[in-house]
């Protein structure tokens, strides 16, 4: 994201509806259905990838449309030719939907947490402990609030053990970690900042070091 895109005014709308036009609700539903737990095996790797475009010329839902098309093509589920023609290619296989209407209610209300793990991992840090956010570049790459790297903060909370983003739904013994909320002063993060302001960032255990 370049400074120009991020420095503009907030497009604030009071009492904004969930969607302004029916197609927005529709693409949100398609994205939600395709990135739900039922489709984890097909789209898990994509669902943890980057958000839609930050280009202000591309609206959020328009970006979601482009993103879901890219996922579907990359997963081999549709082709761009089929999309352009508006119909399946001759001889294309017909699948069976994994999400049906009768499942939606229980899916939305399910407390099944795809990220939380029931794995015994000893916490490396305690609440109130001073920690340093390591300047690291893990493989595979993780999306991160990277602005906190190289900074010193205080552990605000230990949320427990979670699966790393690329391993959603997979609680592997040697890959699951404690997820911490770490509070940094704004001055620590940005240099010149209001002396009373703080930012709390979620960070994995291997992203932190004791001081």
């Amino acid at each position: 994201m370049d400074d120009g895109q991020a420095s503009g005014p907030i497009p604030f709308e009071k009492s904004e509806p969930a969607s302004h036009e029916p197609w927005e609700a529709r693409i949100a539903a398609i994205w939600s259905a395709m990135s739900g737990p039922q489709m984890q095996d097909h789209f898990g790797q994509y669902a943890s990838s980057s958000p839609p475009s930050d280009d202000p010329a591309v609206g959020y839902f328009q970006g979601r449309y482009a993103q879901i098309v890219d996922w579907l093509v990359a997963a081999g589920m549709i082709t761009r030719s089929e999309l352009e023609n508006g119909r399946p290619a001759e001889g294309a296989r017909t699948a069976t939907p994994l999400l049906t209407a009768d499942m939606v209610g229980s899916w939305f209300s399910s407390d099944d947490n795809p990220w939380k793990c029931d794995v015994d991992v000893k916490p490396k840090f305690g609440v109130g402990q001073l920690v340093y956010a390591r300047n690291m570049n893990p493989d595979p790459q993780r999306r991160c609030s990277c602005y906190a790297r190289g900074k010193v903060g205080i552990v605000e909370r230990d949320h427990g053990v979670f699966a790393l983003p690329h391993l959603t739904h997979q609680c592997l013994d040697d890959e699951s970690q404690h997820l911490y909320s770490v509070r940094f002063t704004a001055s620590e993060l940005w240099g010149q900042a209001h002396p009373n302001d703080t930012v709390v960032v979620n960070m994995w255990g291997d992203e932190l070091e004791s001081i």
Binding site: Q5, A6, S7, G8, P9, I10, P11, F12, E13, A18, E21, P22, A25, R26, A28, A29, A33, M34, S50, P56, Y60, Q62, Y65, I68, V69, L72, M77, I78, L83, G86, P88, R93, T94, A95, P97, T100, A101, G105, F108, S109, S110, D111, N113, W115, K116, R143, C144, H159, F162, P165, L179, R183, A186, H194, N196, D197, T198, V199, V200, N202
Partner: protein, 191 residues
């Protein structure tokens, strides 16, 4: 009215996915119904109002937010691990998702476009007071502004301060005062 290009594109995509057996149209209808009628900030407003009138509930909400929210019948997708942060005269909390648009669907519904916008996501962590001022909220210098950067695994709900002069109001009347913006932290609740 001539449908927009995206109306046609999304309709065409949906039809293709239905024809290929990848989505069930009735399931999509049910998901849209969820978005419009089952989840939304009126759920969060009930949670806030109950916390205002019932100190034991408020304690449960702060200590075990998922189970406390579930007491009112709310919970589930995109709110599997909740944290509730309480505004006080000394600390004003506000939520952002710098990486994308993580947001507690069960209690606030789908996030508004401004919450998902690049300017909000970038500027809120760098200049929270400037952003709040732009959105109509001025905070005094002695208040700590605490910005919570949400991620997919953890979703935040701000418990706003109860406004003065509301002692005689019922729980439902209090809930009617609570706005979505106050539960994100970009506004206060007014009596």
């Amino acid at each position: 009215m001539i449908p927009s290009d995206l109306t046609l594109r999304v309709k065409s995509l949906e039809s293709l996915l239905v024809e290929k057996g990848l989505v069930d149209r009735a399931a999509l209808d049910a998901v849209v119904d969820m978005f419009e009628h089952k989840i939304g900030p009126r759920n969060g407003a009930r949670v806030v109002a109950k916390a205002w009138v019932d100190s034991a509930y408020k304690q449960r909400l702060l200590e075990q937010p998922n189970s406390a929210i579930a007491e009112l019948g709310y919970g589930g997708q995109q709110g599997e691990h909740m944290v509730v942060v309480e505004n006080t005269p000394a600390v004003h909390n506000v939520v952002v998702c710098t990486l994308c648009s993580c947001y507690p669907w069960p209690v606030l519904g789908l996030p508004p476009a401004w919450y998902k916008s690049a300017p909000y996501r970038v500027r809120m962590v760098i200049d929270p007071r400037g952003v709040l001022r732009e959105l109509g909220l001025e905070l005094s210098d002695d208040v700590e502004v605490r910005v919570w950067d949400s991620t997919s695994a953890v979703r935040y709900l701000v418990l706003p301060e109860r406004p003065a002069g509301t002692d005689g109001l019922s729980e439902s009347a209090l809930a009617a005062l609570v706005t979505r913006d106050s539960m994100i932290g970009v506004a206060k609740v007014h009596g």
